[in-house]
């Protein structure tokens, strides 16, 4: 079956579409709808967005927006997207050891997804939690003041969420 918004996202779409005088403003929220539904933004989802928003929004315009913003995943990521802040304050607090810790424990390199599709590890720029570094964002949640010795427990907690 072709992609369509989940019922929750459909309801949100109907709620927000009156908030903007120009319907083009709906592109960013709709890209989030697709990402929440399937984990990333694919061509089919982008085509659907262009169709739902309607003329004059084209697939090219939706694609142009999606590719500009880093938070839209253009390819599938693991069930848990582990994003480690590597900028100045987190670096000073020891973020390199956190990145290495996650990669070593999961047996993958930065930017890769584990073979069981459970984990993707990425290094990102500032997450805006500089006083509480090192900080890691896993899906929608921040984990602050992390230490290398916390990583085992964190991965175990993520595993427990699945089982």
């Amino acid at each position: 079956m072709a992609y369509q918004f989940s019922s929750h996202n459909e309801a949100t779409f109907n709620k927000i579409k009156g908030q903007f005088p120009d319907k083009r403003s709906l592109i960013l929220p709709c890209l989030y709808f697709v990402q929440r539904d399937i984990g990333y933004v694919d061509k089919e989802g982008m085509e659907y967005i262009a169709e739902r928003i309607g003329d004059p929004i084209s697939l090219a315009q939706v694609y142009g927006v999606a590719t500009f913003y880093t938070m839209y995943n253009k390819k599938p990521v693991g069930k848990f997207h582990i994003q480690i802040c590597s900028n100045i304050s987190c670096y000073l607090a020891g973020s390199d050891s956190i990145t290495k810790g996650f990669c070593d424990k999961l047996g993958i390199q930065k930017g890769d997804t584990s073979t069981d599709k459970m984990y993707t590890v990425d290094e990102v720029q500032c997450l805006g939690a500089c006083g509480f570094g090192p900080v890691v964002q896993i899906n929608d949640r921040y984990h602050e003041n992390l230490r290398a010795e916390d990583i085992d427990g964190l991965i175990a907690a993520l595993r427990a969420e699945v089982h």
């Binding site: 403003s25 960013l28 913003y69 304050s89 500032c126 939690a129 509480f132």
Partner: protein
Amino acid sequence: MAERLLLTKYIDDPTSHTLEHYKSVGGYEAIRKALSMASDEITNTVKESGLRGRGGAGFPTGMKWSFIPKTDKPKYLICNGDEGEPGTFKDRKLLENLPHMLIEGMVIAAKAIDCHQAYIYIRGEFNKGIDIVSKAVDEAYAAGLLGKNILGLGFDLDLAVYAGAGAYICGEESALINSLEGRRGHPRLKPPFPAISGLYNCPTVVNNVETLCNIPHIINMGGAEYKKIGTEKSPGTRVFSVSGQVNRPGVYEIELGTPLLELINVQCQGMKDGKKLKAVIPGGSSAPILTAEEAGTATMDFESIASLKSMLGSGAVIVLSEDADLVETTYRLASFYAHESCGQCTPCREGTHWVKDLLGKIRKGKGSQKELDLILSLSRNMEGGTTICPLADACVMAVRPTIQKFTSEFTSRFKQIEDSLTNQEEAGVPA
């Protein structure tokens, strides 16, 4: 001076984000007063207070509002909550803990500029903040504090929350407007400025979260009383986010004009592990670095920091101890600007990456004076109006002063190679 709590007085209460708590401590009283005032009267009160924008540029807020023309065109108010500069995290705290203070400030600002549709643009990573602010907006609608005929005082305002998607450049107001219009976050050529042609080509004011949180206090106290706080040219308090090598990093509200060392030694309880202070970046990653000696003379107000050829910027203080590797920290900052360049202007798109690569070479002990000279030469071509927005300038300010003030940290990396070659030659290893 020191700690003076205006915005953050109740921020540690676990219920500070709720309407009930906010009202219990006098919240939404300013709205009643302001909605009974004429628009110009509100703007004049803010002008009288001397409030300067808390996002980065420090432009006088009342003056910014007064640029909005009195036309029949719709006017828009946007709260800039796209906080993303390394070191900066104070708006996140305000969004998560004081959403009703922000909403109240926005209703008053909207009345001042005759706006009936406003938006809060929040960086996409701040899921918790987005959720809390969205719930606060719903609460405010239900209580008659937003929507039609607010509190029966004849003013209408709709307010919506909009999530960004991970582009730092969207903190620049014209890029933010493009993003809110559903476009790539490309900064716009100015003029026209947003006050004349902003969101949907209509007059628009973009104010920072902390700026808008100050508004209810200014209305409650009166402009003249507010101006007594802080210094003559930098009135009020400022919420600073302090990170780096201090004992207690965090978010602190202090009166403007407080000595920088007092912020570090009193609020943040001194340097981590008793180390010596080496340097301070006083206003977000693009603020030129201060040596420990300069930091010792600085007070936290726009003028003092400007006199040291730096800036108060986004209110982010990054503290570096004698242990800090400034080649590495500068490389990380250059990497940030290279990553976040929107790509519109060649000096920025090419320059930021080039600077990052050159620093990368030095960092690995593979650089020489040639690379350092090239960075300084490149810097001159990236700054001072060669680009649409100041991102390239920001990269230069994050890099050049550090190289100039701490040259030996960079040149000592060359020496490692020379020493290593000399040692190899002495050991008979062929070059």
